[in-house]
Symmetry: C2
Subunit: 167 residues, 2 copies
């Protein structure tokens, strides 16, 4: 299970705080996420990481719709973004939203920080843990979030693609 909480942040300010925490920088990714229309609470996405030349097909089932913090996730890397998109089109899936972002990834133990500047939406920090123990994961995420000065009021429960469609 992928457990994550998304916060609205100031990019440069949060970058400094994450680094001060001693988190290890894992890399920068220029991501283009193409979402296909799928009945709620399922998600289907093809991600292209432009600067690394890598692409992924990802299926997610949202376990807590509305809150959007618990995801059952299946992902495979694919050899070509455009061909993967075309196969899904041929199989009848319709393109919905394209989310473009610059993302910095950090790790601190079992916690992953994804600090993103999302085109048209601003900056966000996803704090993520892979664990089937949701209670533990949420506690650990909030423990780290508080050390970064984040609070409940900073949480953004909506998905990026929902935010883009609401604009």
């Amino acid at each position: 299970m992928e457990v994550e909480v998304k916060f609205r942040v100031s990019f440069d300010d949060m970058k400094g705080k994450i680094e001060d925490l001693g988190a290890e920088f894992k890399g920068e990714e220029l991501q283009e996420d193409l979402y296909f229309s799928l009945p709620h609470p399922e998600l289907l996405r093809v991600r292209w990481i432009r600067n690394l030349g890598r692409a992924y097909i990802t299926y997610k089932y949202i376990q807590d719709p509305g809150k959007n913090e618990e995801f059952d996730e299946l992902e495979v890397e694919v050899s070509d973004f455009k061909t993967a998109v075309e196969i899904l089109r041929r199989l009848g899936f319709k393109e919905d939203v394209l989310v473009k972002k610059r993302r910095l990834v950090y790790k601190l133990g079992d916690v992953t920080f994804e600090l993103s500047d999302v085109e048209g939406l601003g900056s966000f920090l996803d704090i993520e843990i892979l664990s089937d123990d949701v209670v533990y994961a949420k506690e650990r995420i909030w423990e780290v979030a508080k050390r970064l000065g984040l609070a409940e009021k900073d949480v953004e429960p909506r998905l990026y693609q929902e935010l883009l469609k609401e604009k």
Copy 2:
């Protein structure tokens, strides 16, 4: 466009003939092809090449249904067979037939020879050319087929998955 003609053959006899023709051996593949139910004339398959540890998602549109010699093909390599299969299941596709074969691949110029021993069905040779010029491709395939002693009576127009379901 993928243009190919499938012949029923004797494996060892045909192996010798292909090598006598001067074709270059490209490798041996132990393939497991899982087909999903899709409305005719579309095909959706996840291939696992066990001995090479590689997997592919392939979508084909049969341009000449019944004859099954002309295919519009889209294919991506994927990082994991089982996860790719599970994603397609979650997207609503139903597993149909599993085709297992041992395949030897040879190349002679623009012609590919796929000599297969298919579990439960016997041996077959696919002679294939990638070209949008179907007339040229068919002529070239038959020119080579005749040099291998193959004739119209040896052609097997049915797909492997059709042959397995008819058993």
